[in-house]
Symmetry: C2
Subunit: 333 residues, 2 copies
Amino acid sequence: MKALVYTGPETLDYRDVADPSPRAGEELIRVERVGICGSDMHAYLGHDNRRPAPLILGHEAAGVIVGGTRDGEKVTINPLVTCGQCPACRAGRDNLCPTRQIISMPPREGAFAGLVAMPPANLVTLPEGVTAARAALAEPVACGWHAVRLGLGALGDRIGSGPGGDLRALVLGGGAIGLGAALSLGAQGVADVSLVEPNPLRRAYLVETCGVRALERAEGPFDLVIDGVGYEATRAAASALVRPGGVIMHIGLGADTGGLDVRRMTLQEITFIGTYTYTAQDFRDTAAAIFDGRLGALDWTEERPLAEGARAFRDIRAGATAAPKILLVPDAG
Amino acid sequence: MKALVYTGPETLDYRDVADPSPRAGEELIRVERVGICGSDMHAYLGHDNRRPAPLILGHEAAGVIVGGTRDGEKVTINPLVTCGQCPACRAGRDNLCPTRQIISMPPREGAFAGLVAMPPANLVTLPEGVTAARAALAEPVACGWHAVRLGLGALGDRIGSGPGGDLRALVLGGGAIGLGAALSLGAQGVADVSLVEPNPLRRAYLVETCGVRALERAEGPFDLVIDGVGYEATRAAASALVRPGGVIMHIGLGADTGGLDVRRMTLQEITFIGTYTYTAQDFRDTAAAIFDGRLGALDWTEERPLAEGARAFRDIRAGATAAPKILLVPDAG
């Protein structure tokens, strides 16, 4: 098959590689659409020692099962493979499984390729009429869905009735993670949602194409702030803009430390929750919300051939892409 | 009356001052015992711009009502004065009242004095046989009580049955805040409690006098870590020692920023909650637990005359005091 192989910092090589070898019970999926994630970019820049070259990146994929009894079935892929047996898995917190694996990280190759192998439990079947392009967004949007679910839980059942009146939520960052969080807030019942995005090209796209209240800067206080970026500056903004007793959800992995105003968080009793991916149930719930339209048209993607993936990475790096998500399209041939 | 007045960095002057003037409805209390808190030390060192000199510090007091219909009633004092009307107060989060005041911070003078004025709602009556020395510990212990209540709430109802087996809790810092948190953990149902205290003098006292499992260093992971210190080093330890999906409660105000391993907190979905003081209900619950013995003998105090308060501050600063709490005793005359 063809694959886009990460071979070293800022280098991606589109080339022939061996087809994946499914483990016992696994399905082989022909990839139809696969998104470029911030974590792919992080690896591409050589900043993720969990993803050493050479490696096929990519973990936001939808496609068609090839071979076996389910041949031809269209699916979206939960890329997180967990054991199902440990205390975390049994407690429904399978995203914290200590032996979790994700495609695009050894020992599992990623989906910037013609084919990928997955356990059947990781596949969610698409209903009639749902395209692979929309279905491939289940993975990035599930990250926001999960953060919103945990954040609303930490705030308590206060939507529309609690102290401070209706819930006000803010999202920092207008990439697919931030946009997915903003859409998930709406789908989970929060009416007052703002998003801060500094890139004017991206911000205009969010307002005009996605119907999101995207701002250059926000005025607090907010009950819930979701940091979909994860740098010092966004954490500093989050800890300044959240109200006393409010909640910060932190999805991004931009910088390892720093930024939080711990003094204010202590004096004003602010909760900070780091979140990693989603549970299998969150993934299924997100897919269901995509299928029934609760997350909107999900037409905020731009498509490029997988063969031109290296250029897509360079364009994203240069801030020259308006759409929050670029989907790569493997050659169907 | 006599008072110990903070007159500038590292300077305390024991001198005659005017008696306090109670506001309408307030009671006057003759102070019998008043503890020295870490925040008093912080102010004494000139590090708290909320407490400018000249000022009477001290907010951990118990004593006797003087005058009026309740003359002679023994009470312990909740030093936090809140409005009772705002959304935070109405929601039972009165510690987040935006107009909250605390004695020892303008406009309210503190309790390192012969007398202090307080609203009646801030006074909890002592039952027969409870000394002012034990009752004065309600304030510092209530900080830990509150943190434990919020931390167990954030972990969910998992004591003894959840993933990872029985709940393991760790407290960082063996001052009165940390010790109060450790005792509150026990009183709220957590059996496996450890405490880290670097000072060997203090550590030996905690083991021998308080019956606490006090260690020089701890081996994780812990479901719940309570940072009763609040410096970079303790926050770094907390974020390394907490288990995936676990909770850090942060009481201390040592350093404003830094120390947290945000990357690990994100990848392992760790919750961090800053906590400030206690609600009025927490204060009453802590006092009740003191009165009925659930917090132990509470004999881990050392008493000094208020007149010698300046020396007590110097001894604490030098790490030369074993007991986690020094109580000052105003001249009864």
